[in-house]
Amino acid sequence: MLMLSFLPSLAGGALIGLSAVLLLVLNGRIAGISGIVGGLVSAIDARLVTNVAFVIGLLLGPLLFLTMFGAWPVVRIETSLPWLAIAGLFVGFGTRLGSGCTSGHGILGLARLSPRSVVAVAVFLSTAMATVYLVGVGGVG
């Protein structure tokens, strides 16, 4: 199970890292999804057009996967709709307040050895693990 699943994870992670590096080297920007999507909703971001282009690309990603592998990625959502709605609120509010999520803090923040990002990753990983422990893996279904 681990042998089957860790290579695609490593390759996928490397692609995410490559995407982040290209955005930095070409456009000078941190590929933080909370910043990019947040820039769309708050409409105060001067780089609205490039943010929209990035999000369109993000939407095309699974289509590229379908073209390359002939199947959609596996998606199993087990959380019930009311809990999903609450989780969405928490994820949206929390990433804006904490200035980042798994991509901005997790990938580029750690690569830059930013103390803020190291702390943020430690906090959100531990609260996420504690949440799964408290509600149980199937406990919100």
């Binding site: 681990l2 000078g28 941190i30 590929a31 996967f65 999903l84 989780a87 609120l89 904490g98 830059r112």
Partner: protein
């Protein structure tokens, strides 16, 4: 230059979405299995972080050699350095939501393409949460110095 920046953002977004699709991060079951360290822990997703951080570390070091990005005038890097309450509180709130759903921001957007109903609901409330933050929190913060300024 603007057109090139738009094309670059589109390509970077596509690579990001493809990477998420390949990595397993689009599957909330696997994400929650990764977070379930006391149960049937599935550690494979740690390799997503490992692969991403290794490539980004090399790329970030190389980018420091450039005086400016290839398609823009300057690098737009975070300037905050303080480990403050919003960082800690926001990250904790995000972690709770991530643990409940097994979905974070990038995967939530990419899941829209698969046309899965529950993912749409998640994205809608996520955008509501972002908007709520952007409307409410700057007001609270801007009110603080006034409190301190009182005699």
């Amino acid at each position: 230059m603007m057109v090139l920046r738009i094309i670059a953002a589109l390509i970077c977004g596509s690579l990001f979405g493809l990477g998420l699709s390949i990595s397993g991060m689009l599957d909330p079951h696997r994400v929650r299995g990764f977070l379930d360290i006391t149960g049937a822990w599935d550690p494979s997703l740690i390799f997503v972080l490992a692969g991403g951080v290794i490539v980004a570390t090399i790329g970030y070091r190389l980018s420091r050699l450039l005086p400016r990005p290839l398609l823009d005038r300057r690098f737009d890097l975070p300037t905050k350095t303080a480990i403050d309450a919003p960082l800690l509180l926001g990250s904790a709130i995000f972690g709770i939501g991530w643990g409940i759903a097994g979905i974070c921001l990038g995967p939530a957007i990419a899941l829209l393409t698969l046309g899965i109903g529950p993912a749409f609901l998640f994205v809608v409330t996520m955008l509501v949460g972002m908007t709520a933050h952007d409307r409410l929190v700057p007001r609270l913060i801007s009110a603080e110095p006034m409190k301190g300024a009182r005699p």
